[in-house]
Symmetry: C2
Subunit: 146 residues, 2 copies
DNA sequence: TATTGTTATACTCTATAACTATA
DNA sequence: TATAGTTATAGAGTATAACAATA
């Protein structure tokens, strides 16, 4: 039998694993890989940008972004455009297909959240989020100290 | 502004991402990769077994397990032993180093859980776990229907 | 000089298919 | 015939290092 703290952590990880499984189905259907979906999702969050900014946001090397963008150009999800002011840089911009895919990602994310938490009474959902906030804060303080 | 359901889901994912970051530090320090740590963790859960059972538990192909075990044999974490009754099979068994690593994994998992949730009042932690249980159940019912 | 992106190279994870030894 | 594991092959993600073009 495990202690109650471990139980809580394991259930958090279990839920996020299920969400990842759901995302994997999206990836299969769209013919995309996790890394490319991650790039598209980020593009949806921060808007068109150069590859360096994507590398920072994704926490990978610039070389890696080159490869991911190559793949997404081939699949027709993004375009490389000249940067308006810096001739060294390229502007990674979603195509119509890319914009549609990003929208579907955002919609299914929101739908999933609503289906998962829609039946939870408001006060309990509030307490749930409060606990998560405290936990995340605790974690970030722990990380700082090392 | 996002709705409260999306906020809840995003915070769950944020927390699990932080946990993954913590695990990544363990991987760096031990010189192991995620996939190999996952295999060791599974070995700790289910005990020594043949490669097919590991493949099922990890949800990857037998070929993939061959490669992971190759790496862990080279790093000295596991040994391939003859299966006592089936001469086709090999028994993947942790070495002393492997057992120590598995123990450290389990300890640091338990420690992390205690540090994250140790300060949460018992009733609120209980409600937290209840909400997670409901959510996981909801999710699994959603998956069945498709 | 510093930065952006690419070429060169290499390793890991992952998969499918064909094969050997054994059940 | 079926199963356990390996060899052969291939693609994707990731990294470091060297380099060209531009700032």
């Amino acid at each position: 039998m495990v202690d109650k703290h471990t139980t809580a952590l394991d259930k958090v990880l279990h839920l996020s694993m299920l969400v990842a499984t759901d995302l994997a189905r999206f990836e299969q259907e769209s013919g995309l890989t996790s890394a490319r979906v991650h790039l598209l999702w980020t593009l949806g969050l921060v808007g068109p940008g150069n590859q360096q900014s994507l590398a920072s946001a994704l926490n990978v090397t610039a070389r890696n972004v080159t490869g991911l963008v190559d793949g997404l150009v081939t699949s027709g999800h993004v375009r490389r455009e000249p940067h308006p002011t810096d001739r060294r840089a390229t502007l990674v911009t979603p195509t119509a297909l890319g914009r549609r895919t990003i929208g579907e990602l955002q919609d299914s994310h929101r739908d999933l959240a609503r289906r998962l938490f829609g039946a939870v009474p408001a006060p309990r959902l509030h307490a749930f989020v409060t606990t998560l906030d405290e936990t995340i804060t605790t974690f970030e303080r722990l990380m700082e100290k090392q």
